[in-house]
Amino acid sequence: MGIRERLSGNEAVAVAMRQINPDVVAAFPITPSTEIPQYFSTFVANGQVDTEFVAVESEHSAMSACIGAEAAGSRAMTATSANGLSLMWEMIYIASSLRLPIILNLVNRAVSGPLNIHNDHSDAMGVRDAGWIMLFSENNQEAYDNTLMAHRIAEHPKVKLPLMVCQDGFITSHSIENIELLEDDKVKEFVGEYHPEHYLLNKKEPIAIGPLDLQAYLFEHKAQQAEAMNNAKEVIAEVAADFEKLTGRKYSFFEEYKLDDAEIAIVCMNSTAGTTKAVVDKLREQGVKAGLLKIRMFRPFPAEEVAKSLEHLKAVAVLDKSDSLNGMGGALFEDVTSGMYVSGKSVPTINYVYGIGGRDTKETDIEKVYTDLAEIAKSGKAENPYRYLGLRREGE
């Protein structure tokens, strides 16, 4: 019936990794994800896992070693943050193009520069078109659960893509909260064994991986990646259904919080959803019909489903914890509004870039968003849609 514990987000992920017992973990420390390979090294040192832990000399090598290990026919996992992911960037694309179901836990942090170690989503947004499945987690429980579901999704024959589980640096990774863990044997049974069809260590069938792939083939290979990403949607839903049977915890592409009868709503990801839920509850008591749509599955992006979920609203605010510096708004805003447009749904929608470099986002900030939304709902006009939340202006 599950094990009640109190763990930080990093500990929760490390425990999930112990229970999964991957063949290889290759990682390099970077704040705030450092604890994951630290805890995991302890499991290795104490013989609690069968894993070969490769203490590489950089994140570039971490992802390279994971690619080698996964291509060899084993399960490989890693964890990183911010600049670590930036350094992996080249290999991130190679991992997905080689169709290797590597699992990466990304503890979100601001990408330099200038240097900042605190949470925002600029690291994740830098790889949003890299062909990885990306799941976001509101809290330690979701980071744990998403990690347990990861291999079933990534290794599915119709998918075969790498997957990253995101959680907010410090806010989630270092906060100790209650959590319900699964028993080790149940995890083992749920995750199952990995038997790839083709792999380097199969002496009976030598294979060559990673060719020079020129004009005659690369396009088709990229289209196959896209097809796999499309297939992932269905598989993510199937795995979530099985996970719900096992744990009673329900996961969808996104979570709708008091959205059915809402008039105004926020769309966001990760820990900010927790703060937003508290504000929604408060506003509901005051008779404000506020709601929330929390994206869990950012890649593949459930554009049509999001559009359908938001179509009845009078005003929507998309919160981006990363600025795209493109003159038109953040990445999530672009995805949500594109989805709406293509589906022919028209709801006044604004964008707030917020929380950059770990800037605290308080309930009062979220309240301000709903106040703005109420005005937009009344006027029907979303003027100046590219906005900042919590930014100090000159003199403040």
Binding site: D23, V24, A26, D50, T51, E52, V54, A55, V56, E57, S58, H60, S61, A62, S64, A65, C66, I67, G68, A69, E70, A71, A72, G73, S74, A76, E90, M91, I94, L98, L200, L201, N202, K203, K204, P206, I207, A208, I209, G210, P211, L212, D213, L214, Y217
Partner: protein, 316 residues
């Protein structure tokens, strides 16, 4: 057992097939072929290749020249990629997940660009961590795949496309990095420096030792490039011989820290013999540039003497 090339060719079919797209007269394919031949027939290998001439000419989808398992990921990470494969092997073997006869060996190939320069960190990490693998650098002394740009392996004064011999600056003005010694500094069990010479005996025997030494091993193999060096394609073996006979490219190995020079020429030839047949050094022979040849000779002499000293010290 005495080395016999004919017998080896007869009894060990090439594991690196013909039909690849490397240039005529290139020093790299014989290196790949001989290193792979050093494997026992019953053993399987996983080869990792850094991006470079060899990779883009031997594995163009859907064709491959490699009969063993092969992986290429990127330019700077053949070391780390193969380390990952090797770690998977250790893990799966330990867990009883691999039920097959014979051993699997791990061999990386990289050019001097992918090894001396952009891939040095990845190589260093893999060697330091003690993975049971061999890294083979085929050193053609410049970034040949992108069109003959200088590398840290390019010899001093060489004319390359990013160190052109101009009217003010006469080619590359810096000395060549000594990678084999850097690898010795990792205190790994086996480091060898070799090239294709005398029926490939030295290359084959060092490859065999490197592959079958437990733990990390490194081979630095000079592999001339007819396009970058400017010699007629049929002169490949002549260039190799001159590199050894002038002591420009000494053949040696370092086993557990002890230096062994594999070949000491009875008559050490002047460096001009090696430089003259190569267009990249042509400007050194212009009147007034005698100082460049003198300086080059001095460096070759110093490095050779250093090697003799190291052999003496480490064998005492």
């Amino acid at each position: 057992m005495a080395y016999n090339l004919k017998e080896i060719i007869a009894t060990k079919p090439s594991r690196f097939t013909s039909g690849h797209r490397m240039c005529a007269g290139c020093g790299a394919p014989p290196v790949a072929r001989m290193v792979m031949r050093a494997l026992k027939p019953e053993d399987h290998a996983v080869v990792a290749n850094a991006t470079g001439c060899m990779e883009v000419s031997t594995f163009i989808y859907p064709y491959t020249a490699w009969t063993d398992s092969f992986i290429h990921t990127a330019f700077e990470c053949a070391g780390a990629t193969l380390a990952g494969v090797e770690a998977a092997y250790q893990s799966m073997k330990k867990q009883g997940k691999l039920q097959q006869e014979g051993e699997t060996k791990f061999i990386a190939f990289g050019g001097d660009g992918g090894t001396y320069d952009i891939g040095l960190q990845s190589l260093s990490g893999a060697m330091e961590r003690g993975h049971d693998m061999v890294y083979v650098c085929y050193d053609n002394g410049a970034y040949m795949n992108t069109g003959i740009q200088r590398s840290s392996a390019t010899p001093k004064f060489a004319d390359t496309t990013t160190s052109p011999a101009g009217s003010v600056i006469p080619g590359k003005m810096q000395s060549r990095k000594d990678l084999a010694k850097i690898m010795v500094g990792h205190h790994i069990p086996y480091v060898g420096q070799t090239l294709g010479y005398m029926n490939f005996a030295d290359l084959y025997q060092k490859a065999e030792k490197a592959i079958y030494t437990k733990g990390p091993a490194f081979l630095n193999v000079m592999a001339p490039c007819p396009r970058g060096w400017g010699y007629p394609t049929e002169d490949l073996m002549k260039i190799n011989k001159l590199a050894v006979d002038t002591c420009y490219w000494p053949l040696y190995e370092v086993i557990d820290g002890v230096y062994h020079i594999s070949y000491k020429p009875a008559k050490k030839l002047p460096i001009e013999e090696f430089l003259r047949p190569q267009k990249r050094f042509r400007h050194m022979f212009k009147p007034g540039n005698e100082w460049m040849i003198e300086e080059f000779q001095k460096e070759v002499d110093n490095r050779w003497q250093e090697l003799l000293d190291l052999e003496k010290i480490t064998n005492e």
